[in-house]
């Protein structure tokens, strides 16, 4: 569905302040997949995702969406942005309109929909986001942090994108809020079959939800594989300043202590199953 071919991005090319964000990155993402993108601060994650909906232009290489080159001259980037939705870090800072509902209608209206259609979509997106109905008509600036975040995510969902890219959607929320937002994202895929790209630096979050994990390190694609395969490289991950999920460490320790479990487990559920098996409990 989305294919990146030999993407390279260099900031301030040709000046004294030249710096390379990433070089020669190629990958293919299929429809309906849940992709986790992780990497250390400054590994080029945020820059990379901004190429996928044409917000930034690559220095070399290109991106294909459904087989079409999005950086070709005649390609309609605005239409693309309706199909590839992007939720930035701290999206609540983009809220501006008088009411939550009007703010969420901003995207659909920009796509050229009528007021009624935009309203329909906004309402359905807001319900999906889990914000309570009595808040729809209040000012977005009266909401709490978590509620604002939901409203802002709804603002992107209302465009009914086929692909949704989220940059650290749970950053700055308390653990309860974190789980709720991540569950919301997981639900989106179940209910609407949206392709998801989740940027995060929490291995535990990514391990729990992603089908495949993309690891960026110093501007290069280090791994792009299923979680089990990626987490089997614990040492390499640590060298990149990343960590494996806590459960993978637990499995290692159990194995060292003589209790044999699968060393590549990454979520609490898997760990539970493995441990019960190891102790022969049914």
């Amino acid at each position: 569905m989305i294919e990146a071919r030999n993407l390279t991005h260099i900031y301030n090319e040709g000046t004294a302040m030249e710096s390379c964000a990433f070089t020669d990155i190629s990958f293919t993402i299929n429809k309906g997949e849940f992709i986790g993108l992780i990497g250390h601060t400054g590994s080029g994650k945020s820059t990379l995702i901004q190429h996928l909906n044409g917000l930034m232009r690559p220095t070399a290489g290109t991106v294909y969406f459904e087989g079409e080159d999005i950086f070709a001259d005649k390609y309609d980037l605005r239409a693309l942005r309706g199909k590839v939705g992007m939720v930035f870090q701290y999206p609540e800072y983009q809220l501006f309109d008088e009411t939550v509902l009007l703010d969420v209608m901003f995207g659909p209206l920009n796509m050229g929909l009528s007021k009624d259609e935009a309203r329909e979509r906004a309402l359905s997106a807001l319900r999906l986001s889990g914000l309570s109905e009595d808040k729809f008509e209040s000012s977005p600036f009266e909401l709490s942090g978590g509620q604002k975040r939901r409203a802002a995510i709804a603002g992107v969902l209302s465009m009914e994108p086929e692909v949704l890219i989220l940059d650290e959607p749970a950053a700055g929320l308390d653990p309860g809020g974190r789980n709720e937002i991540l569950e919301l994202v997981a639900n989106l895929r179940k209910e609407r079959n949206i392709t998801i790209i989740l940027v995060s630096h929490s291995m535990d979050d990514v391990a729990k939800y992603a089908d495949r994990i993309m690891v960026l390190n110093k501007g290069r694609l280090a791994f792009f594989d299923e979680p089990r395969a990626v987490f089997s490289h614990v040492e390499e991950l640590e060298e990149m300043g990343l960590a494996a999920p806590q459960m993978t460490y637990l499995a290692q320790k159990l194995n060292k202590a003589g209790i044999s479990v699968d060393p590549a487990i990454s979520t609490v559920e898997e760990a539970k199953a493995e441990i019960l098996k190891a102790f022969n409990v049914k």
Binding site: N53, F88, Q94, D97, G107, M159
Partner: protein, 264 residues
């Protein structure tokens, strides 16, 4: 998108000019600006050019970087130069409809243009070689005498340094919000004036809110560290004059004297 603002930008290299005390540089800039308005003869401009070129060379800031700041005044320059050419009385060169270009006008326009360019270049040398903090420190110290007549010098200097510090932050923030709204299909580029102005609302509202939020966070952080204004406040790096500063002052005085002598 918004990386081209050079005004108030610091160029980090080590040079004699960089190491001068900010007060010396402030005085130097002031003297240079005054000298531009004192002189009316061609020799005066030659001397000013030599002086400016020498300072630029000593500062080790690339000339390309300095002239970039001139882009901002191109429109102003064109308007004031053409006004001077056409609206000064004197010997006519040619007429353009109701407009009459004169030799005298051309001459004043030329001097005017040079003056404007030198003004901008001269003051950008100051900001390119002085960090915002040094600059406000220097201003605070040299304007200190105004405190006697109840001017809150320290407070003004503090506000200035905060404002300067916030320029890059707000530029970055604008960039971020612009991208977020573009991702929601906003269009900042096409359309007429009214449409463009309307398109700014989704950008300006969040920007103002974020500026106020940052300001209140900063106020809180300053209060938490017991900031209470200028009285009794000491500096970690107090400004001190060195030998090079005295030499610079002597050169400045000589320059100014020369400019006054050949003013005519």
């Amino acid at each position: 998108m918004l990386r081209d603002i050079t005004l108030g930008q610091y160029y980090p290299v080590d040079s004699v000019i960089h190491r001068l005390d900010p007060r010396t540089k402030l005085a130097g800039t002031f003297v240079f600006l005054v000298s531009l308005f004192v002189t009316k003869s061609i020799y005066g401009y030659v001397l000013a050019t030599v002086f400016l070129a020498a300072v630029i060379m000593m500062s080790r800031v690339p000339v390309k970087f300095i002239t970039k700041g001139l882009k901002a005044i191109v429109v102003l320059l064109i308007i004031s130069v053409s006004f001077n050419i056409f609206l000064t009385e004197g010997t006519p060169i040619f007429t353009l409809g109701p407009l009459k270009a004169t030799w005298e006008g051309l001459q004043t326009a030329g001097f005017m243009g040079i003056r404007l360019i030198y003004l901008v270049v001269g003051s950008s040398i100051l900001t390119l070689t002085t960090t915002p903090n040094q600059l406000t420190g220097g201003l605070e110290k040299s304007m200190g005498f105004l405190r006697k007549i109840k001017v809150p010098v320290h407070e003004i200097a503090m506000m200035m340094s905060i404002a300067l510090r916030f320029i890059p932050i707000l530029v970055e923030e604008t960039d971020k919000i612009m991208k977020a709204q573009t991702a929601r299909g906003a269009d900042f580029e096409t359309g007429g004036l009214v449409k463009k102005a309307k398109a700014m609302i989704p950008l300006l509202v969040p920007l103002f809110i974020s500026a106020f939020r940052r300001a209140s966070d900063l106020a809180m952080a300053m209060e938490a560290r017991c900031y209470h204004g200028g009285a009794g406040r000491t500096k970690m790096k107090p400004l001190k004059y060195h030998k090079r500063d005295f030499i610079a002052y002597v050169i400045l005085l000589l320059y100014l004297a020369a400019m006054i002598v050949i003013k005519k």
